[in-house]
């Protein structure tokens, strides 16, 4: 849930990067962190295992600028992708305003992507959210790899609702900011819709 602070004239929103293990959620955040002006970002926090796998979450606060005198601040979170961290994933989804699903384009990970979307759907439903209602964007990551599946096939498997989707190579940054911008925009539009 967003937080509107009239005193500080700030609008705070929470975006969550979801997806199967090793799909590139943390890499997305790292690229955003590296390429953002110091005044627009806070410290990036990664709660990871010794082998650099996300254990609980990564966190990056970002300022996007002002709308009508209100500073817009987005808190970006990633979830741990490994199947057995499901309890932690549920916790990160609490109070989410928008979701970015990072899909791994490699043919070997097709099933893992599908399982992760189903898991997202279930975990959202448990908290009273629905994927159909919440601002939702899909990123097809690792497009540079030789074993990447056609986007058309990924789209038919993972994006039956036709939400905005982007091709990406998070390591080199292709598509990373496009995905973030599209999601942030959807979140603000959704908040506008809910305004009296």
């Amino acid at each position: 849930m967003s937080f509107i602070n009239y005193m500080a004239r700030e609008i705070n929103c929470k975006l969550v990067y979801y997806g199967p293990g090793l799909c590139g959620k943390t890499t997305n955040l790292q690229y955003i962190y590296e390429r953002t002006n110091p005044e627009a970002k806070g410290k990036m926090i990664s709660l990871a295992t010794e082998t650099e796998r996300t254990l609980f979450f990564d966190f990056l606060p970002l300022s996007l600028g002002e709308i009508r005198g209100f500073k817009t601040r987005f808190h970006l979170y990633t979830v741990p992708g490994q199947v057995f961290y499901d309890a932690s994933r549920k916790l990160i989804l609490k109070g989410v305003d928008g979701i970015i699903f990072v899909a791994d384009s490699q043919i070997e990970r097709l099933e893992a992507n599908q399982e992760s979307v189903e898991n997202l759907r279930t975990n959202l439903a448990e908290q009273g959210y629905s994927l159909e209602k919440i601002p939702y964007v899909i990123q097809y990551n690792k497009r540079d790899l030789p074993n990447a599946v056609d986007v058309a096939e990924l789209r038919s498997l993972l994006n039956p609702m036709g939400v905005p989707d982007f091709e990406a190579n998070a390591r080199s940054g292709i598509g990373v900011f496009d995905t973030l911008k599209a999601t942030s925009k959807l979140v603000l539009q959704e908040l506008k819709k809910g305004a009296p």
């Binding site: 937080f3 602070n5 500080a8 609008i11 929470k14 709308i67 209100f70 309890a87």
Partner: protein, 229 residues
Amino acid sequence: MQQSSIAQSSFRVNGIGRGAPAGSISGRLFTRVLAPVKENATFIDTGWQNGRRCPPQVQTRAERLSEARMVNPQMVMYEEEFTQIQTVVDRLVREANARVVFIVDKNGQLISASGEVDNIDTTSLASLTAGNIAATGGIAKLLRENEFATQFHEGENANIHIQLVGNRVILVVIFDSKSSLGLVRLRVRKASDELTRIFEALLNKVREPGGDSPFAEITDEDIDNLFND
């Protein structure tokens, strides 16, 4: 009603005659047993009792969303309440001899801070504290506890006392050897009561229909302009 470990799971069914997600055997069972099915209903598995499966609770999407909003309404902070909260927080710093006191929303948004905040990354602390409370809440749920409302971590130089207030916000006190756990607990208890009242009044105000929102005046163009490079 006794709840098993699967009690938290839920199954989505999109209307009459359509199956549950693949692999969800129990979900399929429910679709056959219970007809007619509410559109976009969620079946909340209520587990087993005395060797028999309890009837599942049925919730429509509207009911579910409305419940979620009741549990987790949008946080809005107005000047009047902010001043009241800040007064409580400022006083707590003095009365508890604390280094820093801050209040965080359960979703990790910093609401108010006081004390030596210049030397501390309050945004990161807010996010980590909320994560900590969320994880502890998850443990409580597994142990069938409602919440563990208080946490205390003792360091060599700094100690941190974390208190859940009104099951909605988190009150964090960082203190050193100039204070003591007893004093902090005493002062936190008093401040918690005051904060609970303030946040209840604030939430009631937010729920009132016709409240203004900065988004009421924002146009699509304003949103587009934010993303122009």
